[in-house]
Symmetry: C2
Amino acid sequence: MGVKERKERDKAEMREMILQSAHKLFIDRGFEEVSIRNIAEAIEYSPATIYLYFKDKNEIFYALHNEAFKRFNGVMADLATIANPFDRLIAMGEKYIQFATEHPKYYEIMFIMESPMDCEENREEWEEGNKALAGLEQLLVGCQQTGRFVGQDPRVLAFSIWSYMHGMCSLSLRKRLRCYTPDEGKRIPKESFENFKTMLSKL
Amino acid sequence: MGVKERKERDKAEMREMILQSAHKLFIDRGFEEVSIRNIAEAIEYSPATIYLYFKDKNEIFYALHNEAFKRFNGVMADLATIANPFDRLIAMGEKYIQFATEHPKYYEIMFIMESPMDCEENREEWEEGNKALAGLEQLLVGCQQTGRFVGQDPRVLAFSIWSYMHGMCSLSLRKRLRCYTPDEGKRIPKESFENFKTMLSKL
DNA sequence: TACTTTTACTAAACACTGTTCATATCTTTA
DNA sequence: TAAAGATATGAACAGTGTTTAGTAAAAGTA
C-alpha cells in the first residue's frame, strides 16, 4: 500500500511549496517584512495550515538559511578548479564579498540575523554552516602543504580570516560605512582587502 | 517672559524621561522586545504621547544608539593615560571585546541593528560613530610617529582593524560560533586575537 | 475678570503581527 | 457503509506601531 508513501510525498511537496513562496517573498522583502499571512496568501492556503508543516516562523527561516548556505557552498565549490590552494583562498575571499553584495538577504540569514539560530533543530549542529567553515580550514591545510602559514593553527587562521571578511561585509550591509564619503566608502574597503591579501601572502 | 523657556525645559525633560525608560527596558529586553506601549506604561503616559516627542520608534533607538556610543567613547578615552600609542591600540582592542561582551545590547544598536540607521536625522552624519572611528585613525597616526605602520594609510588600516574586531564580536554575539565546541569557542577567538596582535606588531 | 487661542494629552481605532484551537471536510481503513 | 484519521480553516487571542479626533488645562488677550 503506497498510500503512506504518497502522503509523505505530498507532505514534502507542501513543505517545498511553502518554502519556495517564503523564499521568493523573503528575497525581495527581508525577514521581518514577510508575514505568515503573506506566505499563506501566496500559496492560497490559510495561515493556520502553515503551522501543520512548520513549528513556527523561525523554522521556516532556518530552512531558508540552510538553503542559502547550500548556494554559498555551491559558489565556493566552483573554485575547486583553481589548483593552487593559495590562489583558491584569494579567489574565495573575492567570491565571499561578491556573494554578500549580490545576495544581501542570503548573507543576512546566514551570518547576521538572530532568528534562524533560535531554532530547535539547530541547538547542537549547524549543518551547512559547518561545511563552509570546514572547507576553509581544509583549504588552509592545503596551503600549509605548499609551505604557507607554517606554524599556524589552521582552525585559528580560518577564524581570523572569516572574522575579517564578515566584519567588512556586515558593516557595509548594515550601513555603518556612512562615516565615509561615497568615494571613500568604496576605496577604503577595496584597499583594505588588497592589504589583507598581501598580508596573507607574507604570513 | 520665561514661559517659553520653561516649556522648552519641560519638553527636554519629557524627552529625557522617555529616553531613560526606553533605555532601561532596552538593556534587559532588547530592541524588538520593547514596545511603545511598554515605554508609555513605564512613564505613566499614554502611548500616543510618546509620538509628541519622537517621530517614531526608530528615532528613540537612534537616540539610544548615540548614547551607547558616548559610553563607548568614554571607555576608550580612559585609555588616554597609556602614553605609548601602540600599547594604547592593543588596550583598545581588548576594551572593544570587553565592551561587546559586557554590553551586548549596546553593541547591537551601535554596529549590528538596521533600525537606528534608518532614521532621518542620520542620513548624512553619524555623529558619535564618527568620533569613535576618528579616534582610532588618530591613534594610528600616533603609532606612525613612533615608526610603526610605515607606508600604511591610517584610514585603511583603521578600517581593517575595525572589520576584524567587529567580525569577531558580531559572529559571537549572533551565535555563529556554535560550529565550535564550547572549549574551542573560547580558545580559537582568544588565539586569533593574540595572533592579530603579534601580526600588528610586525606590520 | 471673561473670552479666546494654544498646548498637552489621551481613548479609540486602524491595519497589522505570530500563533492557537474548535470545527468542518475530505480520505482511508475496517 | 460506518468509524477513524488526516488535513484544512475561520475565528479568536494577545500583542504590535501609528494616527486621529476630541478633551481639558494652561497661556495670551480684551
